[in-house]
Amino acid sequence: MAEKNTIEKVLEVKDLAVSFKTTNGTVKAVRGISFDLFKQETLAIVGESGSGKSVTSRAIMGILAGNSIHEGGEIMYAGKDIMKISEEDLHKIRGTKISMIFQDPMSSLNPIMKVGKQISEALRLKMGLSKDEATKRALNLMKEVGIDEAEKRIHQYPFQFSGGMRQRIVIAIALANDAEILICDEPTTALDVTIQAQILDLLNRLKVERNLSIIFITHDLGVVAHMADRVAVMYAGKIVEYGTAQEIFYDPKHPYTWALLSSMPDIETEEKLFAIPGTPPDMHFPPKGDAFAARNKYALGIDFEEQPPMFKISDTHYAATWLLDERAPKVEMPEILQHRIERMRSQHSIDLPGAKGGEKK
C-alpha cells in the first residue's frame, strides 16, 4: 500500500481537538488526532462508544453540537480549513462534497415525505435542477443503489421500505450531488448480517464506480476487515494505532488493539475470551499518561506518567505505546490473538506484514 502516498490526498486532519461544555465541566472528546484520507480509499475508524470517533466525523461535516469547543488543530479540505471557514462556505461543501450517512436510516429520513422527493430535494437545492430533471436523476440514483422497481417505489414513503432499503435511500441522498467524501457512521449496526453484507458490498461498489473516499466508523472489526484499506484505532479521544488493514489485523502493536481483537470470538475461537477489565475513563478528567494504562495488563510505569508518542513501525504503520520504545521489556500479545493470527497466516499463502523473523519490538 506504499503507493498510496503518491495518490492524491483529499482530506487532512491535523492535531484536531474538540471539547464539550457540560454542566459537570468540560468533556475532552477528541484530544489531538491527525490522519489523512486519500482518493478512493476507505479509512476505518474503530473504537468503543465515547472514544471520539463520531465527534471526529461530525467535526469534518461541520455539524458539531452547539456546546462544542474547538480546542485546536485543523481539518484541511481543498486548501481550506473546515474548522475556520464561514457557515456559508461550509454550506457549499456539506452535502455536495462531503456527505454523511448515519446508523439509523429511519431517523435520517422524513417520515411524511415520499422518498423520491427526498432525493430530488437534495438535487434541486444544491444543483438548482428543475423538478423534472431532478426526478429523473433521483430515479437513476435509486437504480444505482440497487432498488428494484424504482419507478414505483419513488412514490412511496420511508415506512414502506425495509431497513436495508431505507439505508440504500439514505446512501442515494448522500451521493445525489456526486460527493467526493462519504462519512459512514455505523451504517450497518441496526441491520441484520445478511442485509449488512449487501450494504457493505454496495458501498464498496460505489467507491470504485464513483471514485469515492470513505471514512467508515464502526466498532465491528469483522466489518472493518471487509471494508477498510487503512484503519485508525481510537481510544479516549486519541488515535492509538494507525496502519493498513493488513498491518492492524496481522501485526497489531498496541495493547488496546490486541484487546479489541481478542475480546470477540470468531467462528473458530474456543479459548476463554480476553476481556478488557474495567470501563473507559471519564473524559471530564482524562488520565495523565496513556489513557488505556489503567485497563492494560501490559502497562509500564511510564504509561501512568507520560503520554506515549507515535512510534513508527513502517511507513504506513504507527502506534502510540511505550512498549515500542527500545528500553521497554519485550512482551507478547495475548495467546488467543497469537493463535488466531497464526491460523490466518497459514490460510493465506501471500506475504503478510509482521511475518516471523520480521521486525521485533
Binding site: T194, G222, I276, T279, Q347
Partner: protein
Amino acid sequence: MTTNNKQEPILRVENLRQYFTSGTGKKKLVVKAVDGITLTLHKGETLGLVGESGCGKTTTGRSIINLYDIVDGAVYFKDVKIAEGAMQFEKQIDALKEKKKELKKAVKEQEASTSQADLDSFMEDYQKQIKELKSRIRQARRLNAENKDYYDKIQMIFQDPIASLNPRMTVKEIIAEGLRINGERDEKLIRKKVADVLEIVGLLPEHAVRYPHEFSGGQRQRIGIARALIIDPEVLIADEPISALDVSIQAQVINLLNNLKDEFGLSVLFIAHDLSVVKYFSDRIAVMYFGHIVEMADSKELFKNPLHPYTRSLLSAIPVPDPEFERHRKRFAYHPSDHNYGPGNMPEFHEIKPGHWIYASKQEVDNYKKDLK
C-alpha cells in the same frame, strides 16, 4: 464445552405457536411470529437460537417463560407440562361444528346418504366431545397458574439493560424482588443473598444501595444477571444479553455467563443474532427463519455441514476479522421462493443425521443427504 452424553432433557418445547392479531373483521391481521417449533434443552447445555430480527426468536423465549400465553403447543419442564396452548382444541371444536352443519344440511335436503338417525347419533357424540374439548381448553388455561413454582426455575436476561431495570428501585430492591414475591420476609437473609449474588456477578456489596443510572452498561447487565440468579434457576433464557454493550464489555459478560454456566450447572437458551458469539457460546444451534426452526445441529456440525440455504447464506454473511479472507469470500443470497413448496411437497422437520435436524420437504431431504459429508 460440556458433553451432551447425559442427554437429560430439562426443557422441552413442542410445536409451539405464538400468533399476534391486530384489528378486527376485514382488517384483521394475524402475525405468525412462532409457527410450530419443537426443541429440547438438555441439562447443562447451551442451545443457541439465531435468526434475523423479526424471525421470532425473542418471542420464543418470552413464550417459554410465559410472558405471553402460548397459542398452541406445549412447554414441558422436566416432563411436567407447564404450559399448553388451546388452539388445537379450538380447531377441533370448529371442525366438529362444521361437520354438524354439513350433516344438518344434508338431512334437510334429504340426501340419500344421510338419514335422521345418523344425525342423532352424531349429536349424541358431539355434545360429549365438545364438553370434553372445552374442559381441555380450561385446563390448558389453568395450567401455567397451577405450575407457577416451575417458572421460578426458568429465568430470563433481557437485551436492553437500561429498559429492563426500574430506574426508581435500588439495585437491592431490584434483585430481591424475586425473593419477596416468593414470600421471603427475612430481611437479614435477603441482604445476605443479595450480597452473595452481587459478588457472583462481579459487583460489590455496596452497589446494592445505588440506583441503575449510576452504573455503566456492562454493570447494568450484571445486575440483570444477578436478578435472574437469586432464586436459583435451572434454566436461563438469555435474550441478546450482549448486543447492547460495547465491544470491550461484551467479552466480560460472555466470560461471566460461561463461568456461571459451569459453576451452577445452568442450562441456557442463548438468543442472539451474532453467529460467531453463538458458535463460541453454544453446544447446539437452532437457526430460525420466519417462525420456523429451519436447521438445528451441534454447533460444530452446523458450521461444518450447513444444509439449509438460509443457514448457508447466514454463515456466508458473518463478518470475519481477517482482511484477506474478507477480500476473497463469496456470499450466498437466500430466496425463500426457491423452495417450491406446495401441496404434496410441504416441508417438515426431519432428522437427517443423528442430532442434525432440518426443515425441508421429502424431495429436498434427499438432495441434502447427497451434500452431507
